[in-house]
Symmetry: C2
DNA sequence: GTCGAGCCTGTAAACGATTACAAGAACGAT
DNA sequence: ATCGTTCTTGTAATCGTTTACAGGCTCGAC
């Protein structure tokens, strides 16, 4: 016995399908009509088919959030924030993962044309012209949680990495640390590039020379360990322990680095201070708890979701580019 | 200008919609037909509407994974595993989060009848008769990654908590630790209940008395800290430091606990050994790296996904109940 | 009593795909 | 030349909803 349809409900209620649909959608109807339909619905255990409905009305009442790596704790913060605002607006949130490759991101955006959802929040790691083009041409509104060029004309909410770097550097400076190294993620990613630039600027603004800079293969924990190892092999050419602080491009890298430091018998923060970025849940979970630049992932998620909802309402608004300001969460990994 | 439909493609290609559909689905057609259709598709940028398609064929080629808390790293392991097998089978995976309440889980399962996906993997924290009923009656196949009673007759792949507890206890014993405490999650959850039982059995089997047992309010990091605090307020009644090891019901609790230990000047593993459960990414990221019972989350994810695919193929198979065996990942939090 | 206004309700046409069925074309065999 | 087979293509029904439109009813005003 197949699942009941609206026609079945209409039949057992002794009314027309239109009437059933109307009471189901809360349109005006007589007491008795409502009564009969509800009884039939109850009796048959009828549940409307969202595929048919969204085919007709052209909306799915689903929104998609696409992230590169579910293992990165910064996304859980963002996810929670997005979830909160979209569900308050009556939408279901579904999340999918793209992986680190831009072609997969493009495929995902293009795929939205199939009608999976009414909108998309995407946080791309790598951005190229194809991706921008696919976003511009996308059938449904998309907002980028991250950075794309202004000329792209897409809704964007991004962090202020340079400002965040400044917070990190100045905090270290205030604590008397001047020999600062930098563990970045891949510079061919948007955040990687932004942090590299921000770090250079922040150091220069404070009259400092970086002690060393290394580029991890990705933004993960093991990459952080490897990067730490590489950092030391670079430093061995110079005076022993030529550094007293390291800034990492995100919390996972920072934690990986701290493990490498520990493996070398160095203690954080006494020997070397460490500051991460993202201020994810991992920052407070790590040991010692990690001083981390809060790039506003929760607020970015919230704003991105709001932007998406607003654009769904009105597709003619001029694209907005929101940037949320960082703060510093000081914990025990810096003196 | 609205997005092109199959009718538009048919018109510009000068063929019928049926023919377009056929070449799109790879059914036999002449060279020339394929050629013309592909050119028209290309020219119009046509993308088939999955809503319409799945309305007609009755399948969405999407699968849903529902987890309670995206912040729990055990789910990222599981997610990765599920993703891998379902995408290999040609399905899209979407993940949604239910929260800790069973009513939300029930709502989710019931909601599957709307046709969001062809199947569901759910990892429920709390299980009641409503949930079981909703799973049994669900329009689409459901497999539970967790434990439900055998009489429910649903596909299940679960961990072996008691065996895992035995591994933990015996490992500690082998290291000379006998004064063992236990930090559990809520016992009104399925994993909480299983771990409580397993811990009691494992201790008894080794002739040990628990030093103390506390129940955290949930399976999160802050709950772990609070539970640690509570643990000590219980112990103050007895000899100072009446314990030399703690087992935690999952990695987040273990890490929270370790923070509380550190706050009290206790060093892990010298003063007290700690073993977690789940062997999530957090276990290797934490400091010291956490000895943790690997409950096979990756394999559970994989098997659950395979079970789901198999049931989609053939809905008449007898329900299977797979249990995957634990191993112990020894790291630095135990001597 | 007739008429118009105002409600409810039902009929039927969409939405955009797939697919059963039939019709036409091509071709070889008789 | 005719017939039957096979292969390709087109027509139209269908999936389960929503909704424009029209029909029928009630009611009050004239």
């Amino acid at each position: 016995m197949s699942r009941p349809t609206i026609a079945g409900v209409a039949r057992t209620a002794g009314v027309s399908v239109a009437s059933v649909s109307r009471v189901l959608n809360g349109l005006p109807a007589t007491e008795e009509m409502v009564e009969r339909v509800q009884r039939a619905v109850e009796q048959l255990g009828y549940v409307p088919d969202s595929r048919a409905r969204s085919l007709k009305v052209g909306r799915t009442f689903q929104l998609t959030l696409a992230v590169a790596d579910v293992g990165n704790p910064v996304y859980v913060t963002m996810m929670r924030a997005v979830e909160e605002v979209v569900s308050a607006a009556g939408y279901r949130l579904v999340v999918t993962t793209t992986g680190p490759d831009v072609v997969d991101e493009v495929a995902l955006v293009r795929g939205m044309a199939r009608g999976y959802a009414d909108g998309l929040v995407i946080s791309p790691l790598r951005v190229d012209d194809d991706l921008i083009k696919s976003i511009q041409e996308c059938e449904v509104p998309v907002v980028v949680a991250g950075n794309v060029p202004a000329r792209a004309g897409v809704d964007t909410v991004r962090a202020n990495s340079p400002k965040g770097m400044l917070l990190a550097v100045e905090h270290l400076l205030a604590k008397g640390r001047r020999r600062i190294a930098f563990v970045n993620g891949p510079v061919d990613t948007v955040p990687g590039a932004a942090r590299a630039k921000g770090f250079a600027e922040a150091m220069k603004a404070n009259g400092l020379q970086p002690v060393a800079e290394v580029e991890a293969v990705d933004f993960t924990f093991p990459a952080g360990r490897e990067a730490g190892d590489e950092l030391f092999s670079k430093l061995d050419n110079r005076a022993p322990l030529g550094l007293d602080a390291v800034i990492a491009a995100n919390d996972l890298l920072a934690v990986g680095l701290m493990h490498e430091l520990a493996a070398r018998g160095l203690v954080v923060p006494d020997d070397v201070a460490v500051v991460g970025m993202d201020d994810s849940e991992l920052a407070e979970q790590s040991f010692p708890p990690l001083t981390s630049v809060n790039l506003g992932s929760a607020e970015r998620g919230r704003r991105a979701a709001e932007l998406l909802l607003a654009r769904i309402e009105d597709d003619t608004r001029a694209p907005r580019r929101i940037v949320v300001q960082p703060t510093l969460s000081v914990r025990k990994s810096t003196p």
